[in-house]
Amino acid sequence: MQPKLKRLLVLVFLGGLLTGGLSGLVGFGVGHLAASSPEAADRIAVFEVVGFGVFGLIAVGVSLWISVYWMRTIDEAAREAHKAAWFWGGSGALLLGLPLMLIATLPQTAEWSLPDWFYGRSDPVAHAALGAGVLLVLMLAGYTVAWAWWWFRRR
């Protein structure tokens, strides 16, 4: 493995530990504050939503930066493998959502209930997040399979 990639992996690992640790501390502090008084819980509720949104955006930015660095560092064959995995695996798996959407247009499905896999919740926001999560998992699985297949064919 190239030294640049090794450095990046170490950086990602340490960054993940640091972010996890800080998130745990902040979560503990906020949870403690919210549990101590209902008024405080009400006051910080909006900041929790904004905080999660900002954290999510920062996470997306950092992930993109890591991805760009990664793609620029790996060699051309590895890059081709990722491109093929994105196109065939990612997009192919994304298409699996199409039959689900078609089925959802039928009135017969109006009474169906979705599993409460999103923190035991069954509200519309949880269902939207569940749908996004399912597609994400499908795409990641498709990506991984296509990436492994690309290298398997060229072993």
Partner: protein, 62 residues
């Protein structure tokens, strides 16, 4: 596309890892090139030609 990478490498008694280092690619990429299952880009093909000190057309053929 066919190539003589494996022969040229064997003539020099180089390992795949050594050739990969010279080309700045991974050993897996060298293996994929040698088995003819991956065609290199033009810049990489030129680099290969430079490393073996041979014209591209003597290394790669249709």
């Amino acid at each position: 596309m066919n190539n003589r990478l494996k022969v040229l490498r064997a003539e020099r008694d180089w390992s795949q890892a050594h050739l990969a280092e010279l080309l700045g690619v991974s050993r897996q990429t060298v293996n994929a090139l040698e088995t003819g299952r991956y065609d290199p880009s033009l810049p990489l093909a030129f680099k290969i030609a430079r490393v073996f000190d041979q014209p591209i057309e003597s290394i790669f053929s249709e």
